[in-house]
């Protein structure tokens, strides 16, 4: 794991079931995450993924790559375009810093509408 190493590209199919089950599993009951009629009424195209799920996906993307021994210390994310039901969310990542056992990984999650999430994850890996 060195500076410049890329994470394998990862695709998440944001089916309505995925959007709703993750919203409920993160205890987020805002209607725009499970009720399409209300989401459209509020000016959205469809229901969309909630921010707690995006944080969870970013963490999973990094730990799937780094392995279960890696400890997650920080997840910093910035949201852009919403990830709607039926979107494919494509993750890309790269190691941008390494200081001994502390790594910083830059992550981008993108749909056809643009960047849904950009951020960094700090992890600590075993020596």
């Amino acid at each position: 794991m060195r500076i410049g190493d890329s994470l394998p590209e990862w695709h998440v199919e944001a089916t309505p079931t995925f959007v709703i089950s993750t919203a409920l599993a993160t205890r987020d009951f805002q209607d725009v995450h499970h009720d399409r009629d209300l989401a459209i009424q509020r000016g959205s195209k469809d229901i969309f993924i909630n921010i707690l799920t995006t944080t969870g996906l970013v963490q999973r993307y990094v730990t799937d790559w780094a392995g279960p021994e890696a400890l997650v210390r920080q997840v910093n994310i910035r949201l852009g375009a919403p990830c709607y039901a039926y979107d494919t969310l494509k993750f890309f990542g790269q190691v941008i810093e390494r200081e001994e056992q502390d790594l910083t990984i830059e992550v981008v999650g993108r749909t056809d509408h643009g960047d849904h999430v950009t951020g960094t994850v700090k992890i600590e890996v075993p020596a």
């Binding site: 599993a25 921010i51 969870g56 997650v72 920080q74």
Partner: protein, 295 residues
């Protein structure tokens, strides 16, 4: 008229809200529901929770009400009254001091860190509201979060895309190494740098031959024909003087060097193309590619 900044200062001065206890202690059924929904097969979450779940433990729930001293709720109410009725989360920066163990019962406090605005955004005019939350187990801080939302007044209709006048097109940086190339374009000649020492053809131009080290480059005039070696379709961001999407192709010329340029029409690898020159003004003529008629 509501003075948003004054109200924000008042709420910020109140400092941290009283600790609010999570509905449940950290527990395996909720962890497993989360792992199942996210699709995370990490084997390590049997005695500790995924760190990214920290906010989940203290979510208000289906019938949740904000507590009276919750600074985010108070700020949202003020901005609602000021006409900024819509909200979207923009940033979440979470720091985990340690992993939470099953059975631990967290509480959370929140303070108002910053309110900035009014700012013009793509969604409409609005205020960025930043809060800082700290999760505790007993007196021990275990995680922190900076959370930012945009509270905005929805735009009547989406702002029209700004028109980019052609005169603002990005111009090449022309120097002594590249002047011959642009002079060639003005004369509708596609020039390829050729080493004055060993004769090697090279592009893009440079001062010294990578093969023999000679510093007296010459050029030959290409017949301007080649095939598409690779290409990208550029959608975003907007480029001055261009309508998106457009195609940038890397063309392998018959002479053997590769050259970048815009391609008109449908791109494909191996597509036979020829050069076309477009005069921007007296100073600048741009080469680009078009499919060959005789392909």
């Amino acid at each position: 008229m509501i003075d948003v900044e004054k109200e924000a200062a008042r709420i910020a001065e109140q400092g941290e809200s009283a600790p609010r206890l999570a509905r449940d202690p950290v527990n395996l059924p909720m962890i497993n529901n989360w792992l199942e929904a996210i699709g995370d097969q990490h084997p390590g979450y049997t005695e500790v929770a995924p760190p990214a779940m920290v906010q989940v433990w203290t979510m208000a729930g289906l019938h949740g009400q904000r507590t009276l001293d919750d600074p985010l709720g108070a700020m949202m109410k003020i901005l609602d009254e000021a006409g900024f009725t819509s909200v979207v989360a923009t940033n979440s920066d979470q720091t985990y001091h340690r992993y939470l163990k099953v059975g631990e019962h967290v509480s959370v406090t929140t303070s108002l860190e910053d309110v900035t605005g009014p700012k013009k955004t793509a969604l409409g005019e609005g205020w960025f509201v930043t809060t800082r939350s700290t999760w505790y187990v007993g007196d021990e801080p275990v995680a922190e979060m900076r959370f930012r939302v945009l509270k905005f007044r929805p735009a009547e209709k989406p702002a029209p895309r700004p028109e980019v006048p052609k005169a603002q097109a990005i111009r090449p940086a022309i120097n002594r190494d590249t002047e011959y190339f642009w002079e060639g374009c003005r004369n509708e000649e596609l020039r390829i740098q050729r080493c004055g020492g060993c004769g090697l053809l090279r592009h893009p131009p440079g001062p010294m031959c990578p093969e023999c080290g000679a510093t007296k480059p010459k050029y030959l005039v290409s017949d301007g024909r080649g095939v598409v070696y690779s290409y990208v379709v550029h959608h975003h961001p907007q480029v001055p003087g261009k309508q998106t999407p457009f195609v940038i192709a890397l063309v392998e010329l018959d002479e053997g060097v590769r050259m970048l340029g815009e391609l008109e029409g449908e791109p494909s690898i191996g597509l036979p193309v020829e050069v076309v020159f477009t005069k921007v003004d007296e100073e600048l003529t741009m080469p680009s590619w078009r499919p060959r008629a005789d392909r």
